[in-house]
């Protein structure tokens, strides 16, 4: 299938009082039609900034996209005029945010907020759009949808609010849905409801999804392909089965080892990664993970490894082969 999104060499910096922070340092990824890409990483690794940069949602100043291209159906999102990108955002590429408590306007009714993209992009009248919104709310599983159009966000629970957010993102039948940690603020049983809902809608509507999360558990059952980010770089990318069965970057290995598993037989000591993620005031010239890495060799402190292909659908940025303990061939 064809690539619907193709991002190349994206770099974003934030100019702060303490200096320039290099949040995204040359990230490239692509998304095929109907595919689900998981972007995994810890807080501050640049996973949200990556997609926000692509949609030009980075507040500027202090943020600035300094390099890269982001082609959506052949057109570069980063070179579009403001008017053009407005036609794409919310209509063809839409987004669900992490916190369903703060992403709504508390003084507008749900009906008013969910219908906004319809009126803005599709030129629907108020009556038309409200009918469509009621339909959408029903589709995401909100009981008595029609009656609830005039309710305010605080009258919905967290899980329900996230459903409304999904409905709002899907009103214009987008080609791409970007979900930025949509279940992090929710309880596990509600999280399971939301994940099931998104899977069902994906299969019914055939959209592509970028799912950003720090939870390697959720991604395992949801994504086709996974990119692991660290310090503004994609350090490993593979198909979901390949990544979990054959993780090649020491950081990915550490992340998987630090998670206790529900189906584990033996009680083992968790693998912990010592230290903490860096804040990059300089663009690194060595491997950014090297200070925390168990497999570090001299070369790691001199050169930053590029992403290299190690399998049919598997790329890794590491000088060492963690399996053999020697340099990668």
């Amino acid at each position: 299938m064809a690539d619907i999104l193709n991002v190349q060499g994206l770099e974003t910096v934030f100019r702060t009082r303490e200096g320039t922070v290099h949040a995204v340092n040359g990230v490239s990824y692509h998304l095929k039609e109907g595919e689900t890409l998981g972007i995994v990483g810890e807080s501050g690794c640049g996973k949200s900034v990556t997609v926000m940069s692509m949609l030009r949602l980075i507040p500027s100043p202090p943020g600035q996209v300094v390099a890269g291209t982001a082609h959506y159906l052949g057109k570069d999102l980063l070179k579009m005029t403001d008017e053009e990108i407005r036609q794409v955002r919310g209509a063809q590429i839409s987004m669900i945010f992490q916190d369903p408590m703060t992403s709504f306007n508390p003084v507008l009714t749900i009906g008013r907020q969910v219908s906004e993209p319809l009126e803005a992009h599709m030129g629907m009248t108020h009556t038309q759009s409200y009918d469509r919104v009621a339909e959408m709310l029903q589709m995401v599983g909100i009981p008595r949808a029609k009656e609830r159009l005039n309710d305010y966000p605080h009258q919905f629970s967290g899980g329900m609010r996230q459903r409304v957010m999904i409905a709002m993102a899907l009103t214009c039948n987008p080609q791409v849905l970007i979900a930025d940690e949509p279940t992090t603020a929710l309880d596990v049983t509600i999280q399971a409801q939301i994940v099931e809902l998104v899977k069902r809608l994906r299969d019914e509507l055939g959209m592509a999804i970028i799912w950003i999360t720090h939870d390697l558990g959720i991604i395992a059952g949801l994504a086709d392909r996974v990119a692991v980010m660290y310090a503004g770089y994609i350090i490993e990318e593979a198909s979901v089965k390949e990544l979990y069965s054959n993780p090649c970057h020491p950081y990915t290995l550490g992340l998987l080892g630090s998670l206790p598993r529900m189906d584990e037989q033996e009680r083992r000591r968790l693998i912990s990664i010592e230290g903490m993620p860096p804040v990059l005031f300089e663009k690194p010239t060595s491997c950014p993970f090297a200070p925390r890495c168990k497999y570090r060799v001299d070369r790691c402190l001199q050169e930053n490894p590029p992403l290299q292909q190690v399998g049919p659908d598997h790329w890794v940025a590491c000088w060492e082969d963690v399996k053999t303990g020697g340099p990668r061939q």
Partner: protein, 328 residues
């Protein structure tokens, strides 16, 4: 746990905590109550870790605080080493508190920003008049080393540390008085995944070293399975099921426990493919006006008529396995 170790350190009996809802400014009238904890009973044996899991708002943190009398319980008893904390006078309670400490969820909010790390960790020693200044300083250095921080950090302020390091400071403060029981209230949920493992490993090491007893409150079921000896599952102010760790995770009997366990994602795409999920409908009801009979009946796939009428008894169905459900 075997041999001499095997006795009850803490016994909680029918613990109830209601928070009043009042109306009016000058003449306050109680118009209702949040039934945060509604009759909870369990034991903790010396040296074990009891995991207390449940979703947000189920009353697990309130239970932890009510045990330490940080919230005065509405009714019920908390026996610590055989003495009832609920009826205890303030002075004796203060002395008892030496033996019971707490680690809080948010390492950003639970350390005073105007105190140095040394003052924070040394404060319990000062309050309880346990060590003269010089000795206290040495003890602080020792504690910092114990939790894996550089002793020279004692003159720094909390903002100079990362989340994981701050949580280590919280652990050091809890250890200062050499307590026997530590209540860990979601100690890792504010931390990044790779740092969570560091703190959990530290807690396990300290437990072995000092024979500590933990009440580990969390919503992360995989982590609770990893750290606990026994696990209690709470829902809307009551315990639905309590059993030894392996028993609870391999043979869950309460429908809520079953749904909760099936909802936890496993970081393995092959295992995820074949898993059957029990998806619960709806949300947790409000604790202001909880459902009659069984608390879980409004979302339970097995609910029958009796569930609305009679509150299920919390009974032992096999040795050490307690469950409150009519259908078991």
């Amino acid at each position: 746990m075997t041999g001499t170790n095997d006795y009850v350190l803490l016994r909680v009996e029918n613990l109830v905590k209601h928070f009043p809802i009042t109306k009016g400014i000058f003449i306050q009238k109680q118009i209702g109550a949040v039934h945060a904890v509604d009759g909870v009973s369990f034991n903790i044996l010396r040296g074990e870790t009891l995991g207390l899991v449940g979703e947000s708002g189920c009353g697990k943190s309130t239970t932890g605080r009510a045990i330490l009398q940080l919230h005065k319980p509405t009714s019920g008893h908390v026996f610590f080493e055989g003495e009832d904390l609920v009826t205890m006078r303030a002075e004796s309670l203060r002395r008892m508190r030496r033996k019971m400490q707490m680690i809080f969820q948010d390492p950003y909010a639970s350390l005073n920003p105007r105190m140095t790390v040394g003052e924070i960790i040394g404060e319990p020693l000062v309050i309880h008049n346990l060590a003269p200044k010089k000795e206290a300083e040495e003890r602080v250095q020792q504690l910092l080393r114990l939790v894996g921080l550089n002793p020279s950090y004692s003159n720094r302020y909390p903002h100079e540390f990362s989340g994981g390091q701050r949580q280590r400071i919280g652990v050091a403060r809890a250890l200062a008085l050499q307590p026997s029981l530590i209540i860990c209230d979601e100690p890792i949920s504010a931390l990044d995944v790779s740092v969570q493992a560091q703190v959990v490993n530290l807690l396990e090491d300290l437990q072995h070293q000092f024979n500590l007893t933990y009440l580990f409150i969390a919503h992360d079921l995989s982590m609770v399975r990893h750290i606990s000896t026994r696990v209690a599952v709470m829902y809307l102010g009551v315990i639905g099921e309590l059993a030894a760790r392996e028993e609870l995770y391999t043979n869950p009997l309460h429908p809520y426990t079953q749904a909760l366990l099936s909802a936890v994602p496993i970081p393995d795409p092959v295992a995820e493919e074949v898993r059957q999920r029990i998806i619960l409908q709806g949300d947790v009801p409000s604790p202001v006006n909880p459902p009659s009979g069984c608390r879980f009946r409004t979302r339970c796939p097995l609910a029958a008529k009796i569930c609305a009428e009679v509150k299920p008894e919390f009974r032992e169905v096999s040795p050490g396995h307690f469950v409150a459900c009519h259908m078991v």
